[in-house]
């Protein structure tokens, strides 16, 4: 058979195109169950599975050199052809950090609605260098640092901790933790020492958006009530829910779907929608309440049959009146989102003038322990690593102090327990850290995960604190292979 040259050429490129499509299909299916995204910042490749670092003013791409991070957080998008169940991130870097920016973490966006990232430690200056004079014990990735040599092994410490709580402490709150799961750990305070009072606590300020609370029921049964107000300022549907946890177990919930007739973005406020949870079966004990809602929703007139009602880590009081709060953390982070909220606030006698919106201000308190906060008007977002309450008698903090950039290693702490894998030093003097994440529930949009690099306290706008050079980021996704999937479908 005589085939013309024209047909031969056409058959050739059709076969080539066919193999290109087969190659792309193979990459998309990833039949081996893994997918690798490797990017070196010194390479000149323009397009990559790793997106550009954003915002650009926080990360400088040097010509043929590493990525220089000057501010935090920095975001990347990471492409994957499909979902995987596990992801390993290897970062090669050189940290130039200080005591004001001792922690370098990375992670993925897990909840888009509440903007929650799942973070893992990359480099911790204190654990690597700052606690060098302390006794160090290791068991796997679990590390125990002791100011004085009291325990001979990590397992001995864990056993004493689980059985006797923090009784090994010679002073209160002597144990700080870092990246340790505390769901099965004993609370940091002795619940028997809490006052037994049957009075209800009413939180006097409306709260905007997502909040978490600790309550303590001194007898069986929970009774919670409040009102929900929808501001209808943004375009999203404003579903909400209230979840109640005992340790890591969810014990009750209330779903609050947005069935209000008012249109989103109309600015029409709905009359307060009453909410109520009555659960007479809940035994006495400590509970965590989670109010999951967007920023359009206001929770007001919150009342609960507990004499303790603490807001965990972040509070956004929504009122034009004066606000008076207490917190047990030695610092305060403040952000105003509207010009009307700009003011001079008082934190434990220290005053802070807010002059810019969307700027995060920080203020350190004069002493360790409870501090009063006075605001001329609400509508500020207040945050720290402690609790907020309307009065000191309502404040309860069952959490262990976390080793963060505000921790004082000189005085309060005697033990630090950390789940931390030290950085490895490469031959070329760069450091390398490997992070592991469960990826099945990570947020993924248009084929991309959102990766964050966080160095709390690192400010690009002249705030100092150092910098981090990133040489390369290698993201390895893994999960079920094609054969596993087929077996799963066939129930083999």
């Amino acid at each position: 058979m005589n085939i013309s040259l024209s047909k031969k050429i056409r058959i050739f490129w059709l076969i080539l195109l066919f193999f290109i499509i087969i190659f792309l299909a193979y990459q998309f299916i990833s039949p081996g169950g893994d997918w690798n995204c490797e990017y070196s910042f010194s390479s000149l490749r323009g397009s990559s599975c790793l997106g550009e670092a954003a915002p650009s003013e926080r990360a400088i791409k040097t010509q043929g050199g590493p990525l220089l991070i000057l501010g935090e957080p920095v975001y990347f998008s990471v492409f994957s052809p499909r979902r995987f169940s596990h992801v390993t991130v290897q970062i090669t870097y050189r940290p130039h950090l200080s005591s004001s920016t001792p922690i370098f973490e990375a992670g993925f966006l897990a909840d888009k609605k509440l903007w929650r990232y799942r973070l893992q430690p990359v480099y911790n200056l204190w654990l690597e260098q700052g606690l060098s004079s302390w006794t160090k014990l290791s068991s796997g990735d679990l590390r125990l640092f002791q100011r004085e040599n009291k325990f001979s092994s990590v397992s001995e410490f864990i056993s004493a901790w689980q059985n006797q709580g923090s009784s090994f402490c010679s002073r209160p709150r002597c144990l700080a933790v870092y990246n340790v799961s505390l769901e099965d750990a004993p609370p940091a305070l002795d619940l028997r020492s809490l006052s037994q009072s049957s009075e209800d606590t009413i939180f006097p300020y409306p709260l905007r958006g997502e909040h978490q609370f600790y309550i303590f029921l001194d007898k069986q049964g929970l009774s919670l009530s409040g009102n929900l107000i929808d501001l209808n300022e943004n375009k999203d549907i404003d579903d909400a829910e209230i979840l109640i946890f005992s340790g890591k177990n969810q014990v009750a919930s209330l779903s609050l779907p947005d069935e209000r007739p008012q249109k989103e973005e109309s600015g029409d406020q709905v009359l307060a929608q009453p909410i109520k949870i009555v659960n007479s079966d809940l035994p006495a004990g400590l509970y965590r309440l989670e109010f999951r809602a967007g920023d359009d929703l206001i929770l007001s007139d919150l009342s609960v049959n507990s004499s303790y009602l603490s807001v965990i880590n972040k509070i956004w009081p929504f009122t034009e009146n004066e606000v008076s709060l207490v917190t047990d953390a030695p610092y305060l982070q403040v952000k105003a989102l509207s010009p009307a909220a700009l003011q001079t606030l008082d934190f434990g006698g220290r005053r802070l003038e807010l002059t810019e919106i969307y700027k995060q201000y920080e203020l350190k308190g004069a002493r360790w322990g409870g501090e009063n906060i006075r605001l001329n008007t609400g509508s500020l977002i207040l945050a720290n690593n402690g609790m907020f309450a309307a009065s000191s008698s309502a404040l309860i903090n069952p959490d262990y102090p976390r080793l963060d950039r505000f921790s004082s290693l000189d005085g309060q702490l005697d033990f630090v327990l950390a789940n931390y894998r030290p950085a490895t030093i490469n031959e070329d003097a760069w450091l390398s850290s490997t992070l592991e994440f469960e990826a099945f529930d990570l947020y993924r949009e248009r084929g991309r995960y959102s990766l964050i690099l966080s160095i709390p306290g690192l400010l690009a706008e002249g705030g100092g604190g150092g910098s981090v050079e990133i040489k390369s980021i290698n993201v390895e996704f893994s999960g079920a292979s094609l054969i596993d999937k087929i077996k799963d479908w066939l129930h083999l």
Binding site: I9, R10, L17, I20, L24, S47, C49, F79, G447
Partner: protein, 68 residues
């Protein structure tokens, strides 16, 4: 009215088939990008492919001669 025909030589043939190939590849890329944004671009440079496509188009057009 002028009439045209395509000259019968190897360059014209290669240019025409290259134009068809790059058109098909770019169309495949467009379909894949609409389904999986960024996936096709991981392996192929769109500016380079577009450049070859344009080059093959220009060469094909240059090979068209006026019929005498």
């Amino acid at each position: 009215m002028k009439k045209y025909f395509v000259s019968n030589n190897l360059y014209r043939l290669l240019a025409r088939e290259s134009f068809y190939f790059f058109s098909a590849l770019l169309a495949t890329g467009a379909v894949i990008e609409s389904l999986l944004p960024g996936f096709f671009r991981l392996y192929f440079s769109i500016p380079v492919l577009s450049g070859f496509w344009l080059l093959s188009l220009i060469v094909s057009l240059l090979c068209i001669k006026e019929k005498k």
